[in-house]
Symmetry: C2
Subunit: 207 residues, 2 copies
């Protein structure tokens, strides 16, 4: 595991690089220039070269980068070469979609369970999973503990639930609730599906 | 409508400012300092002051900003004071969640329909909407045309469908498919729910 800590502006580009490199692999494209990638990424080619330099991805003058190598290197950097255990907390609409989504298998994550605290949801079946009581998370043996919890409860329950998950030692939370969470001992990434909608709205009003 | 074009790094912070200001309004908090906001936003207070300066939100020394004013000003800037028509294209899992989501009403958007091209989906009822044939979009009268299409088809159908929507003159697409789209005459914002998962994975592996 490398210990470089990429600046966030570079980090947020990694999933996008992976998507484009993945598409190229599907098209059986072997090599790619910084210029081609820059166009797809909507950044400059020197920015691509700087990013790849930081990731120790080496290119060759007049040849470019090997697609497969760059994809493997970025996947490693992101940690996708290890299988990571994930759970969904909250069995509402978004929780159900995430439970059924290919997001897990396709990106090296293993969905190990879906949890809720509402009695009427417990025991219902979603995809291949049965909704379990949230309090049972505390009973999981060490080796069954998830690396990441996808939090999809109501916004009003988000903070309390996040604190509970953090207290159990779950290292990462992906937060889909309409509040920005920050915790002391657990890393949080906030995913707000309406951010894109607002940004698009702004751009439509200012074009 | 102001015609300032905010740099993207500022633009992406607007939804986050709105969320925090919204929470403060719910807590009946009247004023807020740049320092308080900075802490919540995880940026510096001088950055908050610069952002608010660009948005023509004026504060007062030793008093701070009026929460309601700042919220109204940013909402206007994002274009949320007009009702905008939105449609969902693709009646799969994600399309269904978006159709049922409060995202529309709560943020000044009106969901006017859900469309799909798969015969078995057409006519099914999702929330208050009946899935309509995608080709019927071309028959809508001028005044019924949507401002934004939320694209949730399969990735393989995404490009073709996006080109069709753009050809109809739909000005904005919010793309949920696992491909990055770019179109000539239509603005696109790509929403990738797995980006957050990868960024979290990176941070867990490098902490």
């Amino acid at each position: 595991m490398t210990k470089t800590n990429l600046p966030r502006e570079v980090l947020v580009r990694l999933p996008k690089y992976l998507r484009h490199l993945n598409e190229m692999m599907l098209q059986e494209k072997c090599k790619v220039s910084s210029g081609e990638l820059a166009k797809k990424m909507d950044i400059t080619s020197s920015q691509v070269r700087r990013d790849f330099g930081q990731l120790n991805i080496t290119g060759h003058n007049g040849f470019g980068y090997l697609v497969k190598d760059a994809h493997r290197r970025i996947s490693e950097e992101v940690g996708l070469h290890h299988t990571q255990k994930a759970i969904v907390v909250g069995a509402g609409n978004i929780g159900q979609v995430l439970t059924r989504h290919r997001i897990f298998q396709d990106r090296g994550f293993e969905l190990t369970g879906i949890y809720d605290s509402q009695p009427e949801r417990i025991g219902t079946i979603i995809g291949e999973h049965t909704v379990q009581p949230l309090k049972d998370l505390a009973l999981l043996p060490e080796e069954g503990r998830p690396d990441i919890a996808l939090l999809t409860t109501s916004s009003s329950a988000a903070e309390e639930t996040a604190a509970y998950l953090s207290g159990l030692g779950i290292p990462g939370i992906l937060n889909f609730c309409y509040v920005d969470l920050a915790l002391e001992n657990t890393l949080v990434e906030n995913v707000h599906i309406d951010d894109g909608m607002m940004i698009l709205s702004y751009r439509l009003h200012h074009q």
